[in-house]
């Protein structure tokens, strides 16, 4: 337990990190309790009250179909965070597994798997996601798949490094000497030892996942309207930018705040877990 | 050997000021180094030896390290009061330093020759061609073939890297060479070679040396005078013969007692009980008293002064002893 207390103490040493931790917590609470906080449904249209600037009844104004932007932002935030976290965890878990197995077996197996990953990484990440999304089609699940697949090779590569050095440690040799089955070695000895960097990776990649999903939705390949996904909202609001800028600015700022706090906290987590950083 | 004093440290106090504690690394150190002499500073890790050496060249990181008081006289000037520009002229030129770990002391992306050249070009007004000649000379002096000028540090072994570091330090013929545990990171077999080479170069160039080490064998081999340092203070100082044959401070006695000897049969080695005190939390009175087997009441109350025992041999103790010891070489 002292491990966690230590981690927490180190995490909270920086004022900005603490501020963003609180900010992020508030944002998460807001989207989790969207049902209670949102004054309107995300799909409630009122044509008579469209294109309104931010006012008392509509904190962020309304869009061209009369929907309350603030409520849409809350529900959209829920979508983004969910997809972001799921995608990030999946990518890290699968990527780490592939990387660990590849590094553990070494030799030809490692070579082949890594060449395979190299091919994936020869395509710029956004492009790969776009290609996969184009092939699979639109929709939340397909978008998440596209983001996960395009992110796996990088995670595999990152997981591979520590495993390569662990592999030659003596306690692994000892486990092998008493005939421990391979998958058990990987599960009980290798994986726990790379947990810390994996946790850091997952935290850091949540924001990347959110950006990729929003980007794909912005381009029309991801989550489709009328879903209140932030990227889709930005795309829809584009045509009204000159006269009704809040349709773009509101979800944009929401995204900025979320990503900012997430990134700062992610950095803080990474620094707090880094044994080399002085206390 | 002339009796001219080259370097004179008086009452040096250095503290590291951290935000919730103050580490008292050096607590009133005074010593003198004569021209052409090798002065050994021996003590455990954490005793303050490196801090003193870095302090002489003013290489301590300014926050958090602070020189609280004291003076370091070199060629008639107080180094602690010099402006930075003047200090830069002295570093690498009149006073040089060799660090402990040769593996990380060299810039990985510069050729070894160029790294030595850098020192010359900084301090001497000569053309590049003449400077290169000097580099070749010093390379030969440390036993590295001149055609390896253009190679990079990773192409050399640890021992050879240390030779390059020594060449870098000596190329401007410094008056004083500070060697901070120069062989600790090397294999035992290489240690002897490197030490011998340092001795030769030093003799050839007529430099003095401040040799910092925790190894009494090295002291015996290389030094004329020795200072024993504990918890940031000199507890005993004298010639090598005096320290080895007339050991007086209980700490020094303890150090010798912890070394295995060839001629006495010993059942167990006798380490000194306890640990060096936390420099952020030093005890009142004599700093060694918590571990001293011969302590008196006064030792815990009042810190003893460095008292002359005769012939330049001093000891910081209320109850100095005279023990005979064989010099094991």
């Amino acid at each position: 337990m002292t491990g966690f207390r230590n981690f927490w103490r180190r995490l909270c040493k920086n004022r900005l990190t603490v501020f963003c931790l609180i900010l992020f917590a508030i944002l998460v609470l807001m989207v989790v309790f969207a049902d209670f906080i949102a004054p309107y449904g995300w799909d409630d249209q009122d044509i008579t009250r469209r294109n309104l600037a931010p006012c008392a009844e509509h904190l962020c104004g309304t869009d061209n179909l009369g929907r309350d932007i603030f409520s849409r932002i809350l529900y959209g935030g829920r979508m983004s965070l969910q997809i972001g976290i799921y995608a990030s965890v999946l990518t890290t878990v699968i990527g780490a597994l592939i990387g660990s197995v590849s590094a553990y077996f070494g030799g030809k197996v490692d070579n082949i798997i890594m060449r395979f990953m190299d091919v994936f990484m020869a395509i710029p990440p956004m492009l790969l996601a776009i290609a996969i999304a184009a092939a699979l089609g639109t929709g939340t699940l397909n978008t998440m798949l596209a983001v996960v697949i395009s992110g796996i090779p990088m995670k595999a590569r990152i997981a591979r490094g520590p495993v390569l050095s662990l592999r030659s440690q003596e306690y692994i040799e000892a486990a092998r000497a008493v005939n421990t089955p391979t998958f058990k070695i990987i599960l009980r000895h290798i994986i726990p030892n790379i947990m810390a960097p994996l946790i850091v990776q997952t935290t850091l990649s949540i924001s990347g996942a959110i950006v990729q999903v929003a980007g794909l939705s912005f381009l029309g390949l991801g989550v489709q309207p009328p879903n209140p996904e932030w990227g889709a909202m930005l795309s829809a609001g584009r045509s009204f930018l000159r006269d009704f800028p809040w349709m773009v600015l509101a979800p944009g700022v929401a995204m900025l705040l979320t990503l900012f706090s997430l990134n700062v906290v992610g950095d803080g987590v990474r620094d707090a877990l880094d044994p080399k950083l002085k206390d | 050997m002339s009796q001219e004093t080259l370097l004179s440290i008086k009452d040096l106090r250095i503290h590291y000021c951290l935000h919730n504690s103050t580490v008292c690394a050096v607590n009133g150190v005074s010593l003198e180094i004569q021209k052409g002499e090798t002065f050994g500073l021996v003590g455990e890790t954490g005793a303050g030896k490196t801090t003193i050496s870095l302090g002489i060249l003013r290489l301590l990181p300014d926050p958090p390290a602070k020189v609280i008081e004291g003076s370091i006289e070199f060629e008639g000037r107080d180094l602690l009061k010099l402006p930075e520009a003047e200090m830069r002229k002295i570093r690498g030129n009149n006073i040089s330093m060799i660090f402990q770990d040769p593996m990380t002391a060299l810039n990985p992306i510069d050729t070894v020759g160029d790294q030595i050249l850098e020192g010359i070009l900084l301090h001497e007004e000569i053309g590049k061609a003449a400077a290169r000649e000097k580099v070749y000379e010093i390379l030969e002096l440390v036993g590295i073939p001149r055609d390896r000028y253009g190679e990079y540090p990773h192409q050399f072994s640890g021992g050879m890297k240390q030779r390059i570091v020594i060449a870098m330090a000596m190329v401007c013929h410094p008056d004083l060479l500070i060697a901070d545990e120069p062989t600790t990171a090397l294999d035992v077999t290489i240690q002897a070679q490197v030490l011998e080479m340092i001795d030769n170069v030093k003799a050839e160039l007529g430099s003095s040396m401040l040799l910092i080490t925790h190894d009494l064998g090295v002291i015996a081999e290389m030094c004329e005078r020795v200072g024993v340092i504990y918890a940031g203070q000199i507890v005993e100082i004298g010639t090598t013969e005096q320290i080895f044959n007339e050991t007086s401070h209980p700490y020094t006695v303890g150090l010798f007692g912890a070394i295995p000897t060839l001629d006495t049969k010993v059942e167990r080695l006798k380490p000194i009980d306890g640990l060096m005190p936390d420099p952020a939390n030093l005890p009142q009175g004599c700093k060694f008293s918590p571990r001293c087997p011969r302590k008196l009441d006064i030792c815990e109350e009042k810190e003893p002064e460095l008292k002359e025992l005769g012939d330049g041999h001093s000891c910081r103790c209320y109850l100095p002893q005279k023990e005979g010891r064989k010099t094991d070489g």
Partner: protein, 325 residues
């Protein structure tokens, strides 16, 4: 050195082959096929089958892929567009210079701005400049290009009317798009430069240089910066890939007729030969950029030169977070 370059170029070949196969496979999963796209949705099943046979669409995947690759290598033919009937190669190469120019300018702006601010930030650590730069850097990293692009358009094109919002009829049309793609990369570059410089600052050889009596300025430029350059260049390489991907979004926002926009349009028209060709070309460009980055590595770091002349491949470990020294 030459041996190293040749070796690197040779390793690109199987990777590019792999990429072409990967793209082929991915697009195979897409709904609808060539015959449908050409003849339309309501075409006769018989006609569709006939066309499929004629186009070789019923052959096994690997055969189709083999044909595709040999066409490229032997004839430079990337296929024909389903929509326009024009040569894919021609269509793409018409637009390639535009995209490349934007990406190139993006890299230059990122490198210049990012590296300079990073160095200043590191050298004046904890000062007001450093803190400002850190916060702005964080904001930059947290603002995706599609948002910053729209904000820039709003401020500079619509409200202030200083710069054009779309098209590319002159050099001023490039300003906003380049700024958009550079913003995030710049921020990342600055943070990486800062942390590299700080890490190098802690190294022993910096202390050695100081002990020689070297001036602070020379230490920063000659010792610190050159050693930090390796990490900095790595980041430029990664950012180049992101910038290439970013051109797609930016070309959409600013209606710039580049490869990215062509790709997006082709996706919505299901014009798969065009999509294949576009992705392949962008991937090739990315690989060439990585090759150049590796060459710069070798030029800057003598350790890498020795490793490659002895035949070992450490490129992968260097590109990741681990470095062997």
């Amino acid at each position: 050195m030459l041996k190293f370059i040749v070796k690197r170029i040779l390793t690109m070949i199987p990777v590019m082959l792999g990429v072409s196969l990967l793209v082929f496979v991915i697009l195979e999963m897409a709904p609808g096929d060539a015959a449908e796209s050409i003849l339309g949705e309501y075409a006769d099943e018989q006609n569709l089958e006939a066309l499929r046979d004629e186009m070789g669409l019923n052959d096994p995947l690997l055969v189709q892929w083999g044909r595709y690759v040999s066409d490229i290598v032997l004839k430079g033919d990337l296929g024909t567009s389903y929509k326009t009937g024009m040569s894919v190669t021609q269509s793409i190469f018409e637009r390639y210079p535009t995209t490349m120019l934007m990406a190139f300018l993006g890299v230059i702006v990122t490198a210049l701005l990012g590296i300079t601010t990073g160095i200043i930030s590191a050298v004046k650590q904890y000062s007001i400049w450093d803190n400002l730069a850190t916060v702005f850097g964080m904001i930059g990293v947290s603002m995706p290009s599609f948002f910053s692009g729209l904000v820039l358009v709003f401020i500079f094109a619509q409200k202030l009317q200083w710069l054009p919002a779309s098209g590319n009829y002159g050099w001023s049309y490039y300003i906003l798009p380049v700024l958009t793609i550079s913003l995030t990369s710049c921020a990342t570059q600055m943070r990486m430069t800062r942390s590299s410089m700080l890490e190098v600052m802690r190294q022993d050889y910096i202390r050695t240089a100081r002990a020689k009596g070297q001036t602070e300025r020379k230490i920063i430029l000659h010792h610190q910066l050159r050693n930090a350059l390796i990490s900095i260049i790595t980041v430029i390489g990664t950012q180049a890939g992101i910038l290439l991907g970013g051109t797609m979004i930016v070309e959409q926002i600013f209606a710039i007729p580049g490869v990215g926009k062509l790709l997006m349009d082709s996706i919505s028209y299901r014009d798969y030969p065009m999509v294949r060709g576009g992705v392949l070309l962008l991937a090739l460009s990315f690989s060439i950029v990585n090759l150049l980055v590796d060459l710069v590595y070798a030029a800057v770091d003598p350790r890498i030169r020795s490793q490659f002349s002895s035949g070992q491949k450490r490129r992968n470990t260097l590109r990741g977070k681990e470095r062997s020294v």
